[in-house]
């Protein structure tokens, strides 16, 4: 797409910015820890925007005081799944929240092929539209 060269998916926070450096990720994690949110690392290779539940990499990290430990986990995940999308989620468990407070992508595959628009003819001449990623043409694990 002309307004998104590279077809970078824009899901979550900071997704319109260039990739975050480790130092920037540390600052964000510190912000989440200061608010007492639990942090989790998740990965997937299906970039569809409706793919809400990604695979968890290890369990969510509660009661940690320092970002260094979580950065260790993120780098571990990057080493294990270098060609997957990896994101960090911070969950706010206080009453009234009970939902993710932060979610940002920390790793992307090198080439993101982008999406195609699939048009379906329905009753009469009405059209149904849906979006499909070029990456999902291949099976899981072989996409990037």
């Amino acid at each position: 797409m002309m307004s998104n060269p590279g077809n970078r998916i824009t899901q979550g926070q900071f997704s319109f910015l260039p990739d975050l450096t480790d130092a920037q990720i540390t600052v964000q994690i510190k912000w989440a820890l200061q608010h007492g949110w639990a942090l989790g690392v998740e990965y997937t290779d299906d970039p569809h925007p409706r793919n809400t539940y990604w695979e968890m990499f290890g369990i969510p990290m509660f009661d940690l005081k320092d970002p260094a430990g979580i950065l260790m986990e993120i780098n571990n995940c990057r080493k294990t799944f270098p060609k997957h999308y990896i994101r960090v989620m911070a969950f706010n468990s206080t009453r009234g929240g009970e939902s993710p407070a932060m979610s940002f992508i920390v790793n992307r595959p090198e080439k993101e092929p982008g999406f195609t628009l699939i048009r379906e003819e329905r009753n009469g001449r009405s059209m149904g539209y849906t979006v499909r990623s070029y990456a999902t043409e291949r099976p899981e694990g072989e996409r990037y």
Binding site: G58, D63, L64, K65, D66, P67, A68, G69, M72
Partner: protein, 300 residues
């Protein structure tokens, strides 16, 4: 631009600007004896000041390796000092958060294959930014049992101790002879520990000072005759087997409180005052088996 070598630097001003004197004073007040520990901490504080000055002159100042090993007999203050070290290093600025995570072998080693690595990593993650205190560290390594997973935990610890020196300080503690054997069989671990600190046994005077501190903290005091009785008690108890330094003193004080309480209870009809509640008398110590000679025969 490189400054000339004779550029003057003001270490005294830096010292006054930092809060290091306060930290050292607090340490001096609250911990009795422990000269090697206090010396090492003072040296680390001096290094911090010099590093700050160097940074002001744009000289490099790499953070020193702070991993430590505490060896000594029971009750000599290893765990107490470990707690303090976390706070002190945080106030000196070497450690980011200053919390202490205290573990033994059970928290690090798993019971089946694949269990150890996640367990150890969880503990390390929790300790990042603070101090990881491993008590009885020699139990991690059991060479007699080939199905023991302690070695795996040691590998992970070694890696983290080397690569994450800025994030984590590891303190090992245990009895001197066993720790020596542990280090002999794990040269990697020994080389990563920069500070081997021995905790000597306390002298009778130091034990008396510790007792004073403990009483003051619990808002009790000795009567003059109790002071003399207690000094005698300490000297006799030290000569007997199973003496655990400060812990034995704490137990002795607790037993004295029991005897004081029952003594006051006997007199509950008579006019008791606040002074009676607060004072420990000589008879509260004289009643001990240490004086009657029975304790020398061992526990019956």
């Amino acid at each position: 631009m490189v400054l000339p070598d004779d550029t003057p630097v003001d270490l005294d001003a830096e010292f006054r600007a930092s809060n290091i004197q306060e930290v050292l004073d607090k340490l001096e007040r609250e911990l009795i004896g422990l000269k090697p520990v206090k010396t090492r901490i003072r040296e680390t504080a001096a290094l911090l000041l010099v590093d700050r000055l160097r940074r002001k002159l744009s000289l490099s100042s790499a953070a020193p390796t702070l991993h430590m090993s505490f060896t000594g007999n029971p009750g000599t203050g290893k765990t107490t000092v470990a707690l303090r070290i976390a706070e002190i290093l945080h106030r000196l600025g070497y450690v980011r958060e200053g919390h202490l995570v205290s573990v033994t072998r059970d928290d690090l080693v798993g019971q089946y294959i694949g269990h150890t690595a996640p367990k150890t990593r969880e503990v390390i993650k929790k300790a990042m930014g603070g101090v990881l205190f491993i008590d009885e560290a020699y139990y991690l390594y059991k060479p007699e049992n080939e199905r023991d997973y302690g070695a795996e935990s040691i590998e992970i610890l070694l890696q983290v101790m080397e690569n994450n020196r800025d994030d984590l300080v590891v303190v090992l503690a245990g009895y001197k002879d066993r720790m020596e054997r542990f280090f002999q069989s794990n040269p990697g671990m020994a080389s990563r520990i920069a500070h081997h600190i021995d905790f000597p046994d306390y002298s009778a005077d130091e034990l008396y000072a510790i007792a004073q501190l403990m009483l003051a903290r619990n808002q009790y005091r000795f009567s003059p005759s109790a002071e003399a009785a207690f000094r005698e008690y300490v000297v006799r108890r030290m000569a007997q087997p199973n003496f655990a330094n400060a812990r034995s003193i704490r137990n002795a004080l607790d037993r004295a409180r029991l005897r004081q309480a029952s003594r006051l209870f006997e007199r509950r009809g008579a006019g008791l005052t606040r002074d009676d509640l607060v004072t420990i008398e000589a008879e509260d110590f004289r009643a001990s088996r240490v004086f009657s000679g029975q304790a020398a025969q061992g526990r019956q």
